[in-house]
Symmetry: D2
Subunit: 270 residues, 4 copies
C-alpha cells in the first residue's frame, strides 16, 4: 500500500500494520505466515506494542500480570457492565465499554503514580548516584509533607499482606527480569514500615507497577495492561450475565435500598 504523506513535511504515520493484495503485515511480520498459529496472544500483544518479539521471560511476567489483573469479582466496572448489558443485550461492545470506563484514576491512578515515582527514582539512582534507600525516604517524606499516601501500599481486606504481591515478584525473579524498580519498591516498603511503625503491605498495583517498569514500559502504559485484562474479565461477566442474569435484581436491590432524601425543590420558586 503506497500512500501520499498525510501533511507534507510531517513524520506522522503508522508502523503497526499494512495490507497488500495477498498479505497482511503487523509490524514487519506476515500475519498468516509468522503469527497466526505460531505465537500466543500475549506474545502478539507484546510484539505489536514493541515492534519486536518478546523473550520468554517477558511473556511469562506479562502473563502473570494479566492473570492477576483480570478478575476482581463484582466491582464498579463489572456491575456497570452487567447493568448496561441488561439494558442493551444486542450491543455487547457497549457493556464492555461501560465497564472499561471504570478503569480510571481511583484504582489505576495509584498504579500509574507509583510507576512514575519508581521510574523517576531509578533514573535518579542512575544519574545522580542516589541510593535506593535515600530515594525511598524522600518519597515517604514528600508524601507525609503533602499529607497523601504513597500509592501502591495498603489493602482494606488483605492484611497483613496481599498474597498476590510476593507471587508476582517471585515470577519476575524466577525469570531473571527483576530489576531496580523492584529494588526501589522493596526499599520503599521498608521505609513506609519504619515511618508507620508497623507493616503495611505492598498491594497488587504496587507489584504490577514494579515488574512492568522492570520490563521497560513507561508509566503511562500501566493502565493499558489493566484495560486489556479487564476487557477479558468483563466478557466473562457478560457470559455469566446472559446465563444467570443478575442485572434486573441489582436494579431492584438498589431501588429498594437507597432512601429518598429530598431537601426541597418544589416547582413554585420561580
Amino acid at each position: 500500500m503506497t500512500s501520499a504523506p498525510l501533511i507534507p513535511g510531517t513524520t506522522a504515520g503508522t508502523a503497526l500494520a499494512r495490507t497488500t493484495a495477498d498479505a497482511i503485515y503487523v509490524r514487519d511480520a506476515n500475519l498468516v505466515d509468522d503469527l497466526i498459529g505460531r505465537v500466543d496472544f500475549t506474545s502478539m500483544i507484546l510484539f505489536e506494542l514493541n515492534g519486536r518479539m518478546p523473550s520468554v521471560a517477558e511473556v511469562a511476567v506479562v502473563n502473570a500480570v494479566l492473570v492477576a489483573l483480570m478478575e476482581h469479582g463484582l466491582t464498579p466496572s463489572t456491575i456497570s457492565a452487567r447493568l448496561i448489558y441488561s439494558s442493551s443485550p444486542d450491543a455487547l461492545q457497549g457493556a464492555v465499554a461501560a465497564g472499561l470506563l471504570g478503569a480510571g484514576s481511583t484504582f489505576l491512578g495509584s498504579m500509574e503514580h507509583l510507576a512514575r515515582l519508581l521510574q523517576e527514582g531509578v533514573t535518579a539512582v542512575d544519574a545522580d548516584g542516589d541510593t535506593f534507600e535515600a530515594i525511598a525516604e524522600r518519597i515517604v517524606s514528600d508524601a507525609a509533607t503533602a499529607r497523601t499516601l504513597v500509592p501502591g501500599f495498603g489493602h482494606h481486606i488483605h492484611q497483613p499482606d496481599d498474597p498476590r504481591t510476593p507471587r508476582l515478584l517471585a515470577v519476575a525473579a524466577e525469570h531473571g527480569v527483576s530489576g531496580p524498580h523492584t529494588q526501589l519498591l522493596l526499599a520503599l516498603g521498608a521505609a513506609i514500615d519504619r515511618a508507620k511503625g508497623k507493616h503495611i503491605t505492598i498491594n497488587t498495583t504496587g507489584a504490577v507497577a514494579a515488574v512492568i517498569s522492570d520490563l521497560g514500559y513507561p508509566w503511562h502504559l500501566m493502565r493499558g495492561f489493566s484495560v486489556i485484562a479487564r476487557a477479558a474479565g468483563i466478557v466473562a461477566h457478560l457470559k455469566e450475565e446472559r446465563e444467570m442474569p443478575l442485572g434486573r435484581e441489582l436494579w431492584d436491590l438498589v431501588e429498594r435500598a437507597v432512601p429518598y432524601r429530598g431537601t426541597g425543590g418544589s416547582a413554585d420558586a420561580r
Copy 2:
C-alpha cells in the same frame, strides 16, 4: 464471604470470584497458588469463561483467533480511539472504550450471524439427519430469496482468497478440534461457488465463526472474542499515538477534505 440471598427465592449470584481474608478465588481456583505464574493469559480467559481449565488444543485455537482478530490497521475503531485519546490523553480507558464501540453490527454482526447459521445447521444435521450439503443449499437459497448475502463470505481486497482463512482452519485441524461447523462452512462455500458460478472466498469472520463454534461457544459470544482482541490492538495504537501523534493531523485532514454542502437553514424561518 457469606452473603444474604439477593432476592429471597432467586438463584441469582456469581460463580466467577470470591475473596476471603487471605485468598482470592477465581471460580474454584486459588488465584495466587493456582493461576498467577502457572497459566498464560489465554488459558485464564478460557478458565474464567468456562469454569474448567482448557485443553492445549483449545488454547492453541483461541490464540490463533485472537491473534487473527487483534490488528486491522486504521479502521473506524482505531481512528476513533486515536482521536479520542488526543482529546483526552489522561483517560486512556475512554479512548479504548470509544474504539470498542465500533465493534458493532457492521463488522461483527456478520460473524455472529454466520455462527448462528452454522450452529442451527449442525443442530439440524444432528436432530433431523439432514446432510451438510442440504443445509448449505438451504442457507444459500434463503439468502437469495431474502436478497441478502450469506455472512462470512467475500472480501473487497483479499481475492480470490483471504489468506487467514486456510491458516485458521489448519490450526484447528492440526489440533484435532476441527468439527461439524467447519464441515458445514466448507459445504456452504461450495454451495456459494456453485450458485455464483465463481469462487467467493471464505473470509476471516467466516473461519472464526466456524472454529469457535467447533470449540462449543454459543454464537452470541463471538463478539466477545473480538472485543478482547481489539482491546489489545487499540492499546497498541494508543501507545503509538503517544509516541508518534496522528490525531491532530487526522482532524486537519478531515476538516480540509470534507466540503460544506449547505442546503438551507437560515434562522429567519420562524
Copy 3:
C-alpha cells in the same frame, strides 16, 4: 472554508457547520448574530436537526418530551454512571458515556419499534385507504401470532394508567400538532383493551413515539431524543454523586448481597 472534494464524484459532506475567519455558521445561521442569546437550547437542537427554525408548537412538544424523558431515578443508566464516576472522578465524560450506553434496546427499542409501526401504519392509511381501526387490529393480531407484546403499552408500576401519557398527548393537542400517529396510537390502545378484555395503559414511550412521529421525525431518531434528555439527567446525578456520594455504598451493597454460587472450576482439570 473551501475544501477539495473528499472523494471525487461523491456527494458526501456536511451541512451542519462551517467556520470563516470571523464567523461561525450553524446551517446558514450566524452563530453569534442569529443564535446565541436569541434562541433557546431546544430551538437550537431542532434548528440543527432540521435545517429550519422550529415553530412555537414544535418547541413546546419537544420540550415536553425531553422533560418527560430526562429523569427516571436510579436506573441501570444512572447507577452505572455513578459507579463509573466514583472510579474515575476526573473524567466526567466517561461516566456520562457509561450511563448513555444503557439507552439501548430493552427500554428504547420498544419506543423505536412502536414509532416504526405507527409510521408504517399511517403510510398504509394514506396509501391504501385503510382505516386506523383496521391497522390497529392487524398490529394486535400480528403481535399475538408472534407471541410478542405490542410495544409502548403496559407499565409495572403505573396502573391503570401512566400519568405522563395523557399529559404528553394534551400538550401536542393544545399546540395543534396532534396528528394521525396519535390517532393510530389511540386506535391501537382500544384494540389492545378489546383483545385483552381489560385496560392496558399506553406508557410514556408510547406517547413519545406518537407525538414525535406527528412532528415528522423518522422512527430511528427516537433514541436520539432520549439520549439528549438522559445526558442531562445523568449530569444531575453526577453532581449529586459528588455532593452526596452513593457509589462506594452501592458497591458494598452489591458485594454483600450477591451470593457466590460456584459450580466448579478448579484449576486441576487440564
Copy 4:
C-alpha cells in the same frame, strides 16, 4: 416509596426522584402536574441540578451557553461518533457515547482550569480584600513561571477576537447576572495583553467559565454543560450521517493518506 437505609448510619441517598403508585416526582415537583408542558428543557435541567426553579435570567444565560457549545463542525468528537455509527448503526447510543468521550482534558480541561482560577480568585478578593487587578497579575505571573498558558485565552482561527465571547458576556450583562468572575476575566485579559504586548482574545471557553461561575456553579460542573450541549450536537451529526453518509469515505480518506512508517519488528527476533 419507602426504603430501608442503605447502610445503617449513613446519609447516602438521592434527592432527585421518587415514584409512587400514581405519581413521579423530580425533586419535590410532580412531573406531570408541574413540569411536563409547563417548563422548557433548560429550566428542567437547572431545576434538577439545583433543586429550585431557575430565574428567567439564569435560563437565558444557560441557553446562550448551551447554544454556543453545541456545534463545532467536524471535530475529534463528531468524526468519532460518525465512524462508530457507521460500524454500529443499530446502537446510536454507542456512537453518542464515543463522541462524548472526546469531551476531555484537551478542550474542556482549560475551561475547568480557568473556572477554578476565577472562583479561587474571587474568593481571595472577598476574603483578603485583594483587587481583581492584583489577582490577575498573579495568575499571569504564575503561568509565566510555570511556562504554561493561561487557560481560556487565544484562538488559532478567530483573531483578533473570538466573536462568541462578547456575545456571551453581553447576554449575561443584559440579564443582570454578570458578576465578579467576569470582572476578574476582563482584568485577566488586560493583564495578559500587557504581558504579551499585544491583544490576545478571550475565547469561548473563557467566556463560558466566567458566566457559569457568575451563576454560582462549581468549576467541576463546567464539563457537564459541555457534555449536555455536545450530546445534542452529536445526535444532529448522526442524523446527517444516516441521510448523507460520510463515515466510509472518512475511513478511505485516512487509509489512503496515512503512510506506513515501519521501523522494524520482524517476528524472527525471539
